[in-house]
């Protein structure tokens, strides 16, 4: 892993689908990779007490989040044989149907990438300080609670 890069894992607004394609294309020169695993989180139009979620407004405790993400990355790299790993999460308002979370792992053989991707998603949700405010079509809101 080497020197500590100052990472920015957060993107203002929805993650553009083009970013997924661009990320994949950017790996074409890494010819040691045999498999990629990708997870995409999308904002869902949940129905809560008869009200429909129109968008989620994401906030974070930035400094602690980047620290946590760096820790999780190190753990995952140590545990699985990976070539690459990328994590992005949205900040601010993401409408229903748009992407808010993008995890991308790459390895020589498929299993490490798949296992690492799943582990990354679960650990991010459990350990990284990010909060979602569900905005309803009637302009009211509720703080999102994860069900698992």
């Amino acid at each position: 892993m080497g020197e500590k890069k100052i990472r920015n894992s957060f993107i203002e607004g929805p993650i553009p689908p083009e970013k997924i394609a661009d990320s994949i294309a950017a790996h074409r020169h890494k010819t040691g990779i045999g498999g990629h695993a990708i997870f995409l989180g999308q904002v869902r139009n949940d129905l809560i007490d008869g009200k429909e979620v129109q968008a989620i407004d994401f906030t974070t405790y930035r400094e602690m989040a980047e620290q946590k993400i760096a820790e999780i990355r190190e753990d995952i790299f140590a545990k699985h044989e990976l070539v690459c790993m990328h994590i992005y999460h949205s900040l601010g308002i993401v409408p229903a149907g748009a992407l808010c979370f993008f995890v991308f792992t790459s390895s020589k053989h498929r299993k490490p990438a798949q296992k690492a991707c799943e582990e990354l998603v679960e650990r991010f949700k459990a350990e990284v300080p990010v909060w979602g405010k569900e905005l309803f079509t009637d302009a009211s809101y509720q703080w999102k609670e994860l069900k698992g």
Binding site: G41, F58, T59, T60, Y61, E63, M64, Q67, H89, F101, V121, F124, K125, A126, E127, V128, P129, V130, W131, G132, K133, W143, K144, E145, L146
Partner: protein, 262 residues
């Protein structure tokens, strides 16, 4: 626009009993707040000071070309040293924010003196002094016309108006100022997130030192609605589970309800 940044920290502080820039606020020297604020902007300043003790910050320190001429002398030193436009800050206003800096840099007019007018009050020691005013500044210093406002009247000056909380331009000059600064930082050091932002309108600062449990009780009293929200406490970005953990006033405290990202 090419620009060098200087922090004036040469003032004699008879009221504080210690060089203003080195005066610790919550354990951190006042000037360090400015250095930390400038760092993410990619700005490495030069410090103008006379006391030893400034070498600890790892940046260049120079003394006044003509000592004893106050801030005007400091600006003269900066312009002589830089040979180009200079951005001036003062160590006794340690809480100037990145937002103020960005506004100053973005709204500057070339060839003019640019200063911030904050909540209606002109702040000569938060501004950009162009190389072309060096002659005017030199004359002022040599003739001991040291009033900053007079210079701004004489030379074309562009005022950048900003509004915000008073603490941003807090002047740390007296022991009473220091107490106010400590209070402001203590409040800033308590961060709330998620659902808690609906309940906690202003962080209730406890008496330090305290413990995690005592702090929670103190908050509960101030905000009874907290009983409905489960939350964890992080100290300096690490979650603490032991309620007996000590909290001192320099700790960054964060109140974290259940996460819902990903």
């Amino acid at each position: 626009m090419k620009l060098k940044t200087y922090i004036l920290s040469g003032g004699k502080s008879s009221r504080m009993g210690q060089d203003k820039g080195l005066q610790p606020i919550l354990g951190k020297p006042a000037i360090a707040y400015l250095l930390d604020m400038l760092q993410p902007l990619g700005i490495t300043p030069v410090i103008i000071a006379h006391e030893g003790g400034y070498s600890q910050f790892g940046v260049r320190v120079i003394g006044d070309v003509i000592p004893g001429k106050g801030p005007m002398g400091g600006i003269y030193t900066a312009l002589s040293d830089a040979g180009e436009d200079v951005l001036i800050l003062a160590a006794d206003a340690p809480f100037i924010s990145t937002a103020v800096m960005r506004a100053l840099l973005a709204q500057q007019e070339e060839g003019q003196i640019n200063v911030i007018r904050y909540n209606g009050r002109v702040q000569p020691l938060c501004g950009i002094y162009p190389a072309v005013c060096a002659g005017e500044v030199k004359e002022s210093v040599q003739s001991s016309r040291l009033k900053m406002m007079d210079l701004l009247d004489r030379f074309p000056t562009h005022y950048i108006g900003l509004e915000g909380i008073a603490e941003i331009f807090h002047n740390n000059n007296t022991p009473a100022d220091h107490a106010a600064a400590v209070n402001y930082l203590r409040k800033m050091n308590i961060k709330c997130f998620g659902k808690l932002t609906d309940i906690i309108t202003e962080p209730a600062v406890p008496a330090y030192p305290t413990t995690v449990q005592a702090f929670k009780d103190h908050l509960q009293k101030a905000y009874p609605a907290l009983a409905t929200v489960g939350y964890k406490i992080a100290l300096n970005r690490q979650i603490v589970t032991d309620p007996g953990t000590n909290i001192c006033e320099a700790d960054e405290i964060a109140l974290l309800p259940a996460f819902s990202g990903g």
